[in-house]
């Protein structure tokens, strides 16, 4: 499934989708950035509740397909602009990380 394809599901709302056709391949959940860089695979959907600017760099370097913000977490406009410029897809959801994972296991 593509990142844009997730939007068909009501759980997800778009934050920015500069590369919506990117294919999702697996999921990683984590908020500690070095764990994400060490353990996430390229193409993963990355579920996190972190909302500072460094998540954009981490998603870019770890080459994840998208960031999925759980628990209704929001980002500043500045971070969204940076993500757009760097080609980083971000979706948001009010679901918890666990609920998102359950949802993704059905969709992917």
């Amino acid at each position: 499934m593509t990142v844009a394809g997730l939007l068909q599901h009501e759980a997800f709302s778009p934050v920015c989708l500069p590369d919506g056709e990117r294919e999702i391949c697996g999921v990683y959940i984590g908020d500690l950035l070095s764990w994400v860089m060490g353990r996430a695979s390229a193409g993963n959907a990355w579920i996190t509740i972190m909302s500072n600017i460094n998540i954009v760099a981490v998603a870019s370097l770890a080459d994840t397909a998208c960031i999925l913000l759980a628990e209704g977490v929001t980002l500043s406009e500045e971070i969204v602009a940076t993500a757009n410029a760097k080609g980083i897809n971000i979706l948001a959801s009010t679901l918890s990380a666990y609920e998102l994972a359950v949802c993704l296991s059905r969709l992917l």
């Binding site: 500690l32 950035l33 764990w35 860089m37 500072n52 600017i53 460094n54 760099a57 370097l61």
Partner: protein
């Protein structure tokens, strides 16, 4: 590619929001050189971890990257407090990061282990009160 390419970056130790710029730039440059996504990913994550360490633990420093046909070498130099016990610092989970840094998602003590994992060679030279030089190399498969 003929000969070698070198890149030099000053890593600002005061600005957390721009931390990682050198690594992001190197990622772009390596992509333009046509290196494989896997090599680029390993190099840029290892460099980012080192760059962030210089910002968090050493007040900034410099990053030099040398690309030849055989390998990519990254040299991170800082004049921070140095590392007293390198073996301890290399352990997964060891961190001296303060709480404000932890709240940003850093400080898991996984940076140096990641740098080791993602590179083919890693060496740390450090002297307390003088600074730290981290050298990493990733071989480019033929």
């Amino acid at each position: 590619m003929n000969g070698q390419l070198t890149f030099h970056f000053d890593v600002d130790g005061s600005d957390f929001t721009s931390a990682g710029q050198a690594s992001v730039q190197v990622k772009k440059d390596l992509r333009q050189l046509g290196l494989s996504p896997e090599i680029i990913r390993r190099v840029s994550i290892a460099m980012y971890e080192g760059e962030i360490n210089m910002v968090i633990h050493a007040g900034g420093g410099t990053a030099d990257v040398v690309v030849t046909e055989e390998e990519i070498e990254i040299i991170l130099t800082d004049h921070g407090p140095g590392i007293r016990d390198i073996a301890q610092a290399m352990q997964e989970g060891f961190s001296t990061a303060p709480d404000n840094i932890r709240s940003l998602g850093f400080g898991a003590g996984m940076g140096l282990p990641n740098m080791k994992r993602y590179t083919d060679h890693m060496d740390i030279q450090s002297e307390v009160g003088v600074g730290t030089v981290v050298t990493m190399r990733v071989s480019i498969p033929k």
